[in-house]
Amino acid sequence: MSSTEQGTSSAAPAEPTTAPESAAAPEVPESFYYVHGKDKVVHKVSAGALQHSALIHGMISNLGYTEEQAKANPFPFENIDGDILQMVVDWCNQHKGKPTPPEDTNLPKQKEKLFDLVLAVNYLEIKELLTYCCKQVAMMVKGKSPEEIREIWMIPTDAEDEAAEKEAKKRAGKEAAGETAAAAGDAK
């Protein structure tokens, strides 16, 4: 596994800035965790930023890692492309400790990556970002005709849907027949 840390790169979040706190409150050092995607590039993210992800937040709470343990065991998200994970990490850092406004202009706008981003965000359970991404998906077809929508969202025609359904039924039938034959073979 590559151990390139991107936590301090310009694209990735900088080290956590100290938030203004009341003079009486003791300073608690912020803890950091590490995540990587399909490209194995490790991203250093603060626990505060990771709170946006219900999935990672749950993992952190259950594991109770120390800083060293966290560094040695980055959370692997093999199903998420590296650049998509980078976008997610950036967004989490930008919105650390503050609620997302209904129309967030600071969020990633790369339409070509939107679909992968929705899947990643859905997996990581980042509700606010998912909301925004779905809005972006809806915006893709704003003011478009049914034909244009079909093209943008790759919607099959009724005939294609029917053909796919027939095909699926045929495949399911074959698989069932195969399983029955295998079971009969085992019995012998």
Binding site: E112, F115, A138, P146, W153
Partner: protein
């Protein structure tokens, strides 16, 4: 770059649909049976679907409401579509786009009603004179609706034809013209047991009010004297245990003719009541010997009478 929308997780797809405006949602519903079913199952609520019928087109208005954070409802947007014999136009886009050329008016209406899970429209407006056969077609399209509105631009004869053809399938009828040929014609109409009728302008007499059989009547503008209203109230007070069908009568006189409370309520025992919602309109409660109550509201050029609760 296109994306395969059906590969999105169901909840995300649903949320994306919720973010779309009605116009885009309708365009999406026209892509395939599957997209139509998706829109249908999204249960998007539309408010007061209204149809205006013109000679060669049907205009469909859809209102959509949104619940604000402060928890009071406001009207969000009104979307307008024109259905022709072939194709439809949407006025909610920049410019006019014609979709689905193969759809007939009937197909469009059926698609809209079924997509938004509405079994009936709220208002059917007949906006100008059309052929009788087209009226029959319209009746087939909309076997039931809440309110029938007949525009004053239609001829008197045509309003009558529309009224007698369609009033039975509407809860409420409104037309803004006097359509009566003579006194006899007017009496014949007022003594019918319609549910709710709004029309005008009309000269009314005490006899008209006494023989009235319409449950809820509004007249814009009514020509009636304060003296006759006063006699009507007095007769209603005296008429213990006599059945009187009208539950509400709302009469508006011409703007510059104010109705005097003193004249209308002269010699009548009443109780002064105010609206609960804090509005400072003069409302009076009249009680009959048999316990029946009537509320009378008089303000400027408006007289409203409501029986019982």
């Amino acid at each position: 770059m296109p994306i395969r929308i059906f590969s999105l997780p169901g909840k995300d797809l649903q949320y994306a649909l919720n973010c779309m405006n009605i116009c885009d949602l309708i365009a999406f519903s026209l892509c395939s049976k599957r997209t139509k079913n998706l829109v249908k199952s999204s249960n998007r609520k539309i408010h007061l679907p209204t149809i205006y019928v013109y000679e060669n087109r049907v205009q469909f208005f859809i209102r959509e409401r949104a619940l604000q954070r402060e928890d009071y409802e406001i009207e969000r947007r009104i979307f307008q579509f024109n259905f022709h014999d072939k194709g439809a136009e949407s006025a909610c886009r920049n410019g006019i786009g014609v979709w689905k050329k193969e759809f007939t008016q009937n197909d469009w209406i059926a698609h809209f009603m079924s997509t938004f899970n509405h079994s009936m429209i709220h208002t059917l407006g007949i906006m100008n004179n059309t052929s009788i056969s087209y009226l029959d077609t319209i009746k087939q399209f909309f076997p039931k609706f809440h309110k029938l509105l007949i525009s004053g631009t239609c001829s008197r004869e045509f309003i009558k034809i529309v009224f007698w053809k369609l009033y039975t399938i509407a809860e409420e009828v409104e037309f803004d013209r006097n359509i009566f040929d003579d006194e006899n014609d007017k009496s014949k109409f007022l003594t019918q047991n319609f549910k709710s009728v709004t029309f005008g302008p009309l000269k009314l007499t005490l006899d008209d009010l006494l023989t009235l059989n319409i449950a809820d009547l509004t007249i814009n503008f009514a020509n009636i004297s304060e003296k006759e209203l006063n006699r009507f109230l007095k007769l209603w007070m005296k008429g213990n245990h006599i059945f009187y069908r009208p539950k509400a009568i709302r009469l508006c006189t011409e703007d510059e003719i104010d109705i005097s409370c003193e004249e209308v309520l002269k010699g009548i025992k009443y109780e002064d009541v105010q609206y609960n919602n804090g509005e400072d309109f003069p409302t009076f409660r009249l009680r009959r010997g048999d316990g029946k109550e009537m509320k009378v509201f008089i303000a400027d050029n408006e007289f409203v009478f409501r029986v019982g609760q």
